[in-house]
């Protein structure tokens, strides 16, 4: 009889512990998960500037941009593309109609830097010099400023 009572108490205690453990796991996950996951991207940028008074829809190299507010600029990562193809239209529901597209060629710029140094610590009292050269290749950022006249003239 006493053995059964003890077994019953042990079972209830185990369930309580299990319940508290799961509650702690859920609470910890809910608090920490947003900080545990982060995404970052870097690369060549294409900037689309909306200088109209209406919202815009755009497609830049198959990436969609919707409801870009008037006066705002959005930057799209176009790394790995030799050309950038952008198509812009007025967002629906504004009573404005018009669509323009333009292709940009990504221009590569090579920057070379040199660093010279001298070492005068030898026994003969003469100095020896060395030169390190490094080069970085970057792509010029591309910006397309959208103004109302582009839609009316039909020339981007």
């Amino acid at each position: 009889m006493r053995r059964r009572k003890n077994q019953g108490r042990t079972g209830a205690r185990s369930r309580r512990l299990l319940f508290r453990w799961w509650a702690a796991v859920i609470a910890t996950t809910a608090v920490l998960l947003p900080y545990a996951i982060s995404f970052s991207s870097q690369g060549t940028a294409f900037a689309l500037a909306n200088r109209t008074k209406h919202y815009l829809h755009a497609i830049v190299n198959a990436e969609s941009i919707v409801y870009l507010p008037p006066g705002r600029t959005v930057t799209v990562d176009v790394s790995g593309f030799s050309n950038v193809v952008a198509e812009v239209r007025y967002s629906p529901g504004q009573g404005m109609h018009g669509k323009i597209s333009k292709e940009f060629e990504a221009t590569r710029v090579t920057t070379t830097s040199e660093r010279s140094s001298a070492d005068c610590s030898n026994r003969q009292g003469t100095c020896s010099s060395s030169t390190d050269a490094s080069s970085n290749e970057t792509v010029n950022p591309i910006t397309w400023v959208i103004t109302p006249d582009l839609f009316s003239s039909g020339q981007p």
Binding site: R15, R16, L18, F19, W22, A23, I26, T29, A30, L33, P34, Y55, H57, I59, E63, S64, I65, V66, Y67, L68, P69, R72, V74, R89, S91, P92, G93, Q94, G95, H97
Partner: protein
């Protein structure tokens, strides 16, 4: 669409009243493992569901939805549940608004939600059980907008948003292995929508469902 929503609400009310019309066997069920299958309506609320162009127009309205949940007892009056559900959003208001202004628009958007919940039980009688639920929820949202034949993806929907879920469910046990239930839930996902200019909005959804619970 308005007529269909009215009929659905009438069905939901009748489903909740149905247990009083059924002469059932008293079973006296304690917290048990169970599988729930629900269907109902997914209401959307908040500025995230309206158009940026016309804030008075609903872009993502409510629609029919379904969900499935699996419960496990952790105590005499507590259960632990995993839940998953799906709902397609209704963009007809925005489509009609745009069409009136000369744009042919078609909205296609859907939400898949999952959750881990704790449910304390409040037993009213041996066959009537009220459960509260509270927990963590995840939301997967995607959608496209077709404007004059050109398809644009809704870039402002986060592929995954983390939030919370709370609600209440009423179960009427009709048999030792079977119960009918209705449930009202609220879900909230902070910054579930993030526009290209950095503005964020909180997704709020209110699923109202009825269903069947198989007691395992």
């Amino acid at each position: 669409m308005q007529g269909k929503r009215y009929i659905l609400l009438k069905c939901l009310v009748l489903a909740c009243l149905m247990p009083t019309l059924v002469d059932c066997q008293v079973t006296g069920v304690a917290a048990r493992s169970s599988l729930g299958v629900h269907g109902g309506y997914f209401f959307t609320r908040g500025s995230w569901s309206t158009s940026r162009v016309a804030p008075d127009v609903t872009m993502f309205g409510g629609n029919y939805s379904g969900d499935v949940d699996l419960e496990f007892p952790v105590d005499a009056n507590w259960t632990f549940a995993f839940i998953g559900g799906y709902a397609e959003l209704d963009g007809s208001s925005w489509e009609n608004y745009s069409r009136a202004r000369g744009d042919e628009v078609r909205v296609s958007a859907a939400m898949t939600h999952v959750g881990i919940l704790l449910r304390p039980h409040i037993r009213v009688s041996p066959d009537d059980l009220v459960k509260l639920e509270l927990g963590v929820a995840g939301l997967f949202t995607n959608g496209t907008e077709t404007v004059d034949g050109q398809v644009y993806g809704y870039d402002f929907f986060k592929s995954f948003a983390l939030g919370g879920r709370g609600g209440v469910e009423y179960d009427r046990v009709l048999h030792r292995n079977f119960a009918v239930c209705c449930r009202l839930t609220g879900m909230m996902f902070p910054s579930g929508v993030k526009y290209v200019d950095g503005e964020t909005r909180t997704i709020v959804a209110l699923p109202l469902t009825v269903g069947i619970r198989f007691l395992l």
